[in-house]
């Protein structure tokens, strides 16, 4: 059976520099796939390529074995790929609830005309969306703050809200960009458990960029290591631990600090 997501020989150049070169990654459906590597290795660029923010210079990206390379970001999101951002991108001046509702809106089907005349169907849909959004917020412990501003949440909760928001899309694939950034060891451990729960409960395939080796090693079924925009290793956590090139890449130092 073919993988849920296939990154097939993708290259991305920004003018001169080559952020990603001939990158192959296969993400099996139901897996948790970790992407690690030193800073500037092109991990986030890879996410931006998958979600359509950048268009690959060469190569193809297939989701459920249909090509999504070059589609508009909105389209790709609607195909069932949710993501979070490295430096959090919430709608800061909207309420926590609205942040989730906007993502949920893609499942409401009323037309502009119905909206402008505020016909009954809109009322039903909106009630439902509010209800489900609040439901969704509960497990993230955000239900009580539902009506506060997103920007007023503490840092950790903002990261959670981003995940909740991504899940409101009902995605099959969830891309997490450094979900544990800025968390201490304790928080990271909680996050690990939480992500497991999310994976079970929402039946999503996870791909995560992370620096916390502990989390990655515990959580991931497969790991891809990027260095200089190229996958230098791919395998189970054990294999990666043992892989000499990986160790070289990290300890040898790339000197590249972007």
């Amino acid at each position: 059976m073919s993988a849920l997501l296939e990154i097939d020989n993708v290259t991305k150049r920004f003018g001169g520099l080559c952020a990603i070169s001939n990158c192959h990654v296969r993400v099996e459906s139901g897996h948790t796939h970790g992407i690690i590597g030193p800073n500037g290795a092109g991990k986030t660029t890879l996410f931006n390529l998958i979600t359509g923010i950048y268009k690959p210079t060469e190569g193809d990206i297939r989701f459920r074995s249909e090509s999504i390379a070059g589609l508009r970001p909105g389209r790709i999101a609607l195909k069932g790929i949710g993501r979070t951002f490295q430096n959090i991108r919430l709608l800061n001046n909207q309420s926590v609830l609205d942040n989730v509702r906007i993502a949920y809106d893609s499942q409401l089907h009323y037309s502009p005309v119905e909206a402008m005349l505020r016909l009954p169907r809109l009322g039903r849909d909106e009630k439902q969306s509010i209800g489900e959004s609040l439901e969704l917020l509960k497990p993230f412990g955000l239900a009580d703050h539902a009506h506060g501003l997103a920007s007023e949440l503490p840092y950790g909760s903002q990261r959670k809200l981003e995940i909740a928001r991504a899940l409101a899309l009902k995605p099959d694939l969830l891309l997490l960009d450094e979900p544990a950034a800025g968390m201490n060891t304790g928080e990271t451990a909680d996050l690990t458990e939480f992500l497991r729960w999310v994976k079970e409960h929402f039946k999503v395939t996870l791909v995560l960029i992370e620096h916390h080796m502990h989390l990655v090693m515990n959580l991931c079924d497969r790991i891809t290591v990027l260095d200089f925009g190229q996958p230098i290793a791919d395998g189970t956590p054990e294999e990666i631990r043992a892989n000499p090139r990986v160790i070289a890449a990290y300890l040898g130092g790339t000197g590249d600090e972007d």
Binding site: F14, T44, I53, F85, Q86, R89
Partner: protein, 316 residues
């Protein structure tokens, strides 16, 4: 044949004159934008004030300056005008824009609109009627070329350029080159570019942001004032409302060139001047605005961030 060449040459001179003035004003817009990413809508009216300042100064100083050669007195007045308008521009920034630096950018823009209206209406209160601009030096007309007109006997085709046109084009070119040098080579210019690159971290590096911004307004407005003075000399009937149209046109020029980009503003200014003249030359003059603005629109459609401005690359 040759008369057509002369005709086009003449139109080119006209285009250069208009273009150089647009370019000078556009510089003011683009500098402020580069540093604050803010459109200083009061700029057009500072330009207008430049004209009036020149008129008043000329009135006051002519008895003093008669002893000097006209060109010298011209330069003196030019510098004075630039200083006055520059200081004015900087103080407007200090009073009206700085308090809003952390407010939504639009409120700064609207405040700028308000300042423009205020300047204009105050000037109107003082000078309700159009004023005539005294000429600072005898504007001799040079006939570069003269030949009998093949179409109409007895008449002649000439290529004329006035001393004024030469002065205008030269002065504005000098100012542009000077500015370009200032921006690229001096510490101030470097600081300015740094701020426009990232105003958040620049203060951490010990660059006095406020002072640089004031400087920017000083220079930008000064150039606007100079443009106003040249404009007033070229079109010696000045009215408080003259800033609106020219201001907007110059702004368009700045954007077409790629706003925030000094050379782009110059380019845009000359393009606008050329397009406007070209529209008249090629088509019926009543279609001038239609043609010229459609052309500019096309440019913006195909190069949405202007000719020299590059698309701000998105970092996610």
């Amino acid at each position: 044949m040759l008369d057509d060449v002369l005709y086009l040459a003449q139109q080119t001179i006209n285009a250069l004159q208009q273009g150089s003035i647009y370019a000078l004003i556009a510089l003011g817009y683009t500098m402020v934008y580069g540093v604050l990413t803010m459109i200083n809508f009061a700029h057009g009216d500072l330009f207008m004030l430049g004209a009036f300042a020149c008129m008043l100064l000329a009135g006051v100083l002519t008895p003093v300056l008669v002893v000097f050669p006209p060109l010298l007195s011209f330069i003196v007045i030019l510098l004075l005008v630039m200083i006055i308008i520059g200081v004015l521009g900087a103080s407007i920034e200090r009073v009206a824009y700085r308090p809003l630096r952390n407010a939504p950018r639009v409120s700064a823009i609207i405040t700028a609109l308000g300042c423009g209206l205020l300047i204009q209406s105050l000037t109107l209160v003082i000078f309700p009627y159009s004023k005539s601009m005294p000429s600072l030096f005898t504007n001799t007309t040079f006939q570069l070329f003269k030949m009998p007109n093949p179409d109409a006997e007895g008449a002649s085709v000439t290529l004329t350029i006035t001393a004024l046109q030469i002065v205008i084009i030269c002065v504005s070119l000098i100012l542009m080159v000077a500015l370009d040098f200032l921006i690229r080579k001096t510490r101030y210019g470097m600081a300015m570019r740094a701020i426009s690159f990232d105003s958040r971290t620049v203060p951490l590096m010990g660059i006095p942001v406020d002072r640089i911004i004031s400087m920017t307004f000083l220079i930008g407005a000064g150039l606007g004032g100079a443009a106003g003075m040249l404009y007033a000399l070229a079109y010696p009937v000045i009215a408080p409302s003259m800033g609106i149209l020219v201001g907007w046109k110059a702004f368009i020029a700045a954007v077409v060139g790629g706003i925030g980009n000094i050379r782009g503003a110059v380019l845009g200014g000359f393009i606008l001047g050329a397009v406007e003249v070209l529209a008249v030359v090629v088509f019926d003059s009543s279609y001038r605005d239609l043609i010229s603005y459609s052309l500019l629109l096309l440019i913006l459609i195909f190069k949405p961030y202007g000719l020299l401005g590059q698309a701000p690359n998105q970092k996610v």
